[in-house]
């Protein structure tokens, strides 16, 4: 569906309003914008089609989304008002992200020395989780308190927040401005073309799902029916014998006994999910929940594979010096790869949870782009 500047504008205003009044204000604002556009067209004889320039002029006259949303909010009855709210949200996301990342790292470090049993993992997980909740309450509480104090201490319209450009991460300073400057800054026309696009987070990328299905089917066939193909091979002579192709299986029997059934469940589950999603044409709440569960199971399997019994078997490798070399290099490499995979899956899990709860993903780009978010 094609979206216009009006759609993007209305969305940005609504994003800053309480949920209770959002939908109604958005509907009214959209109707009023169309009235203004219709009037503008009538002034020109009503024969030309509306252009983007017409919409830009109307939106500039109305004011930036932050200004208009501020007018809709109850005056002086908030803990943190529209002046600081965008900034507050960015800091909350940054603190939440930093604490989450720190605790994920802490979790991995505390699991590193464990034996890989479910009981040990559960104890370590709950210890870290308890610390995480405490850190969140303390961190976010401090941020909220700081902003609530700023809201009351800094006189309204006398201070503006701005980002210090020389830092690569959002570092924000408050600058006192004189009345004349405030007026000047307010009168400076904002550019509606800079409004963020409305992304369709529930759209299904057909090629992405199709490629995923193909790879999962290949993995199912390979690991279940041709496990002998997963290994190493070389051309050469062993113990003075003829020069020929030699090969050896790479995966230990425990992989097939313990992990392959779990991987089969995951792969079949993901194939089924992709087919359902393709048939429905859009991501829905039910499919997102199934996706979340499957990602959680992936994280569990990756953890088990990283910290459980050795997955690789080098017993069949000849000659002996090559076996020793491979035994030294391969297992640590595989463990590092699995730990990275586990961390990435945890990150994906958090992202999926955020999307499920808030209806859209929060990107690092948004986190870093203070100016775009605050409209300053």
């Amino acid at each position: 569906m094609e979206t216009t500047l009006f759609d993007r504008y209305v969305r940005e205003v609504g994003r800053r309003l309480p949920k209770k009044q959002r939908e109604d204000v958005q509907a009214e604002l959209h109707s009023l914008l169309l009235d203004a556009l219709q009037d503008r067209m009538a002034d020109r004889g009503g024969e030309e089609a509306a252009t983007e320039e017409d919409r830009v002029a109307i939106l500039q006259e109305l004011g930036s989304p932050a200004q208009v949303a501020g007018q809709y909010l109850p005056q002086n009855r908030y803990l943190i008002g529209p002046r600081f709210f965008d900034l507050y949200r960015i800091v909350v996301i940054a603190v939440w992200g930093a604490l989450t990342l720190a605790h994920v790292v802490l979790l991995v470090l505390s699991l590193w020395g464990e034996t890989g049993t479910f009981r040990d993992a559960s104890i370590a997980f709950f210890e870290v989780f308890e610390g995480y909740i405490g850190a969140l309450l303390s961190g976010l509480g401090s941020v909220t308190l700081t902003f609530a104090i700023l809201e009351r201490v800094l006189p309204e319209d006398k201070y503006v927040a701005h980002r210090i450009e020389s830092y690569p991460v959002p570092v924000v300073a408050f600058r006192k401005v004189e009345d004349a400057q405030i007026l000047e800054e307010r009168q400076e026309p904002w550019d509606p073309r800079t409004l963020p696009e409305i992304e369709d987070h529930d759209r299904v990328e057909v090629w992405e799902q199709a490629v995923g299905i193909v790879f999962l089917v290949l993995a199912l066939i390979l690991f279940n029916f041709f496990p002998q193909w997963i290994g190493g091979s070389f051309v050469g002579s062993i113990d003075g014998g003829p020069v020929t192709w030699h090969s050896w299986p790479l995966l230990a029997p425990i992989f097939f006994e313990r992990y392959l059934p779990l991987l089969n469940v995951l792969w079949i589950g993901n194939i089924g999910l992709s087919i359902v999603v393709l048939r429905q044409g859009r991501w829905q709440r039910g499919t997102r929940i199934v996706d979340l569960v499957l990602t959680g199971l992936s994280a569990f399997v990756l953890y088990q594979m990283a910290f459980g019994p050795a997955l690789l078997s080098m017993d069949a490798v000849q000659p002996a010096d090559l076996r020793e070399l491979l035994e030294t290099v391969f297992p640590p490499l595989l463990k590092v790869g699995l730990v990275i995979g586990f961390l990435a899956t945890i990150g994906e899990l958090i992202g999926q949870f955020v999307r499920l709860v808030w209806g859209r993903p929060v990107t690092m780009r948004e986190l870093l782009d203070v100016r775009k978010l605050t409209g300053t």
Partner: protein, 117 residues
């Protein structure tokens, strides 16, 4: 007009906003029609200020509103209710008293100014 002076003018106009809007809502209006009506009478009010103000007045119990689907697209219409009418009457009285006092004050200032010349 210089920035600080423009600020004072804006401040002065802001004080009359509620009375201005209430005075035009004896008959039902939607946001853009009210903006046009005020504009025709020589009063330009920012749309970004007018539309939220109508909502606030409704929330304060002075206006009633309803969505109308009679036209090509749905519009939200606002109209004075009983409380709004009583408030308008009170504000009108205040306005008359204020303008009378101000005319008196400004008239005297002008006279004083003329005397000093």
């Amino acid at each position: 007009m210089d920035g600080p002076i423009q600020n004072l003018v804006n401040e002065l106009r802001r004080g009359t906003l509620v009375l201005t809007v209430l005075s035009q809502l004896e008959t039902r209006q939607y946001g853009y029609s009210l903006k046009q009506r005020l504009s025709e009478k020589g009063l330009e009010i920012d749309q970004g200020t007018l539309y939220p103000l109508m909502r606030r007045l409704e929330k304060q119990g002075l206006l009633d509103s309803e969505w109308s689907h009679e036209t090509s697209r749905p519009r939200r219409y606002y109209v004075l209710n009983d409380t709004g009418r009583k408030t308008l009457d009170t504000l009108k009285e205040e306005w008359k008293a204020l303008t009378s006092a101000m005319e008196d004050l400004l008239g005297k200032d002008e006279e004083n100014g003329n005397d000093s010349l």
